[in-house]
């Protein structure tokens, strides 16, 4: 009995702790959302009137739609490229055993562990040598590098669930290696490919530091936010922030739903 009581007590402590963490993480976001509809120029209580003025202001601000367009292009391109590279790396890992594989995997997973400032500087130095600094290409390249490991991790997770005989079964039934890739491996990994596209799009869409280093005049949304903030305190930020947050969280939630579904399906299949 004693154990059970302590068990229940610690469960409550844990729940409270998790609730606190969530409040801590989400209250600034929520505050930003609330103030984005508040008519007062400075965020303070009590709230002023409800308004969509800041959203209109953002819409009419030339810099923001431009940045939004850039962000969309960059995140779409780097999601597609990053997912493609991630898929290739994950498949190589699944299919082949070779000397130095651990090193190969280590390198493939390295980018997210590099401090962003270092990554930004290195990218800037390298891309300006290549004459690309300041172009959208530069941001796409940098973001592809940063996105690929996430895509690889997701797709690799899926490939680990594959019946090791599935590919061989397709060959055995007359499918060439390319045909097998098209009609077995890709259909099997499709959920994780979609998840990887969403996740990498979100990663790229949110990424500030490296984009700031290499973007030059072609700014993405996070870079523009910083510039507005540097100028003055402007509630437009709340409006942009809310908008960006909703896009990112949607992509991440879609990713999470796909991953959860595929894991559940896998357990069910066993």
């Amino acid at each position: 009995m004693h154990n059970k009581t302590t068990g229940r007590f610690s469960t409550w402590i844990l729940r409270a702790y998790i609730a606190l963490v969530l409040v801590f993480v989400f209250s600034p976001l929520l505050a930003s959302m609330v103030f984005s509809f508040n008519s007062d120029r400075f965020p303070s209580l009590p709230l002023g009137e409800f308004t969509t003025h800041w959203y209109k202001a953002v819409w009419n601000n030339d810099a923001v739609p431009e940045a939004l367009r850039n962000s969309v292009i960059v995140s779409l391109c780097s999601a597609v490229l990053g997912t493609f590279i991630g898929f290739c790396t994950a498949y190589t890992d699944y299919r082949y055993q070779f000397r130095g594989k651990a090193l190969y995997l280590g390198l493939a997973l390295l980018p997210p562990t590099i401090p962003l400032v270092i990554m930004g500087l290195a990218m800037l130095a390298w891309l300006s040598r290549a004459g690309l600094s300041g172009t959208l290409f530069a941001i796409i390249i940098a973001h592809t590098v940063m996105c690929a490991p996430f895509a690889m991790a997701l797709i690799r997770l899926r490939l680990q669930q594959i019946d090791p005989n599935l590919e061989a079964a397709a060959w055995n039934l007359g499918a060439s290696e390319w045909r097998t890739m098209r009609s077995v491996i890709i259909p099997f990994t499709r959920p994780s490919i979609i998840a990887a596209l969403c996740l990498t799009a979100a990663v790229s869409f949110d990424e500030f530091a490296v984009a700031w280093f290499v973007s030059g005049l072609n700014k993405t949304v996070p870079v523009v936010i910083l510039e507005i903030l540097q100028g003055n305190v402007d509630p437009q930020i709340n409006a942009i922030g809310t908008f960006v947050f909703i896009i990112s969280i949607t992509l991440v939630v879609i990713t999470q739903l796909i991953v959860m579904k595929q894991n559940k399906g896998h357990r069910h299949g066993r």
Partner: protein
């Protein structure tokens, strides 16, 4: 039965320093049901995979229909396989799984569908054609896997322990399905298994493998009654195996002071001295031999029997499977004896654990293996 469909000619397979298959020679005729049987790691699955083109032989030649196929890629071989894990495509429904092989052969859609449905019908699972694989039971999945492999009308079907995941009742049913299927199609089945009952129940010919080599090829009866070596005798189980050396030739005086009969020799083992029949040239005195007596060919009596092969042993334990009882017994020197008898015969003996009994067997039923 016809010509040799499959020929393994001195085939070897090494994985690094490990030899999975060594100098394998085997001919399989078309229309034959062959079982490859052996303990895990004996090379049976590697042999099957080499035939399917999933592993490449390190040496030797594999011929299919008289043509060397060592270099033919797996997808051009037409050697469909039923996998232990079934390896059904989880993202396709039942019908699409069966259609897969036809699609690879570029069979038009209408015909594909008709042929797939025919096979599903034949396997009695047509009503599940639009279901997902995970909605089927184990036995139904098995049938899908069979239909998927057979829909292209191959001349050979490879089966890699296909029944090992099913429960015992279903195994018996699927054995019936497989045997009937093989008979009606008249194609070659090569069936890899570690299960003796599966191999013996279905195969025309059983190939026993051990450590990458063939230990014996023969009918179920041959392998059961006339094991070629000690490994086969032990692997088949339910055999009493006695090691010893030859002490007397036909006509010489035996241990019971009587002359040894014409077609017999006398062998001294740790459990006693016994007589065994031989074919051809008898092994000379002093040569090491092994005697094998099937547990079902030995009998037990309370009184000392008058036959030349008998030994006193104590019952250690009993095992009941239906009306058949296996007595596990031990002689004074620690040699184990297994005797199989009917329940009703056991009832007559009225024995208790620890009872001493006489185990005896015919000289003619004593199988001699020359080491």
């Amino acid at each position: 039965m016809g010509d040799d469909l499959v020929v393994f000619d001195s085939v070897e397979k090494h994985f690094g320093s490990f030899t999975a298959v060594r100098s394998l020679d085997l001919k399989i005729q078309s229309g034959e049901f062959v079982a490859l049987m052996g303990p895990s790691g004996c090379g049976k699955t590697t042999t099957l995979r080499m035939l399917a083109g999933l592993d490449t032989p390190s040496a030797g030649e594999i011929r299919l229909n008289g043509e060397r196929i060592n270099e033919v890629p797996a997808h051009r071989r037409q050697t469909p396989m039923v996998w232990q894990s079934l390896a059904l495509f989880p993202f396709l429904n039942v019908r699409e799984n069966v259609e897969f092989g036809l699609k690879m052969l570029a069979v038009p859609e209408q015909e594909r569908r008709t042929r797939a449905m025919d096979w599903l019908d034949r396997m009695e699972i047509a009503q599940f054609s639009e279901r997902h694989i995970e909605q089927l039971s184990g036995g139904q999945r098995q049938r899908v896997a069979l239909a998927r492999a057979l829909v292209t009308e191959p001349s050979i079907l490879l089966l890699d322990e296909p029944l090992s995941a099913l429960d015992a009742n279903l195994v018996i049913r699927m054995q019936g399905v497989l045997t009937r299927l093989q008979r009606s199609l008249g194609i070659t089945f090569i069936y890899v298994t570690h299960s003796q009952s599966e191999a013996f129940a279905m195969a025309d010919r059983v190939v026993i493998m051990n450590e990458g080599e063939i230990a014996q090829v023969g009918s179920s009866r041959d392998i059961y009654r006339n094991p070629a070596n000690r490994f086969v005798a032990e692997f088949v189980g339910r055999n009493n195996i006695l090691n010893g050396d030859v002490r007397a030739q036909p006509g010489q005086t035996g241990h019971n002071q009587r002359p040894v009969p014409d077609d017999c020799i006398e062998v001294k083992t740790s459990a006693g001295t016994f007589q065994a029949a031989f074919n051809g040239q008898p092994p000379g005195n002093g040569s090491a031999v092994t005697l094998v007596v099937g547990a079902d060919l030995a009998s037990v009596t309370a009184a000392q029997p008058d036959t030349s092969n008998h030994v006193r042993a104590t019952v250690i334990s009993e095992e009941f499977v239906g009306a058949v009882v296996t007595l596990f017994m031990e002689t004074d020197d620690g040699t184990e004896f297994k005797v199989q008898l009917q329940q009703r015969e056991l009832d007559k003996l009225e024995l208790e654990t620890g009872t001493g009994l006489w185990v005896s067997w015919d000289v003619a039923n004593t199988h001699l293996i020359q080491a």
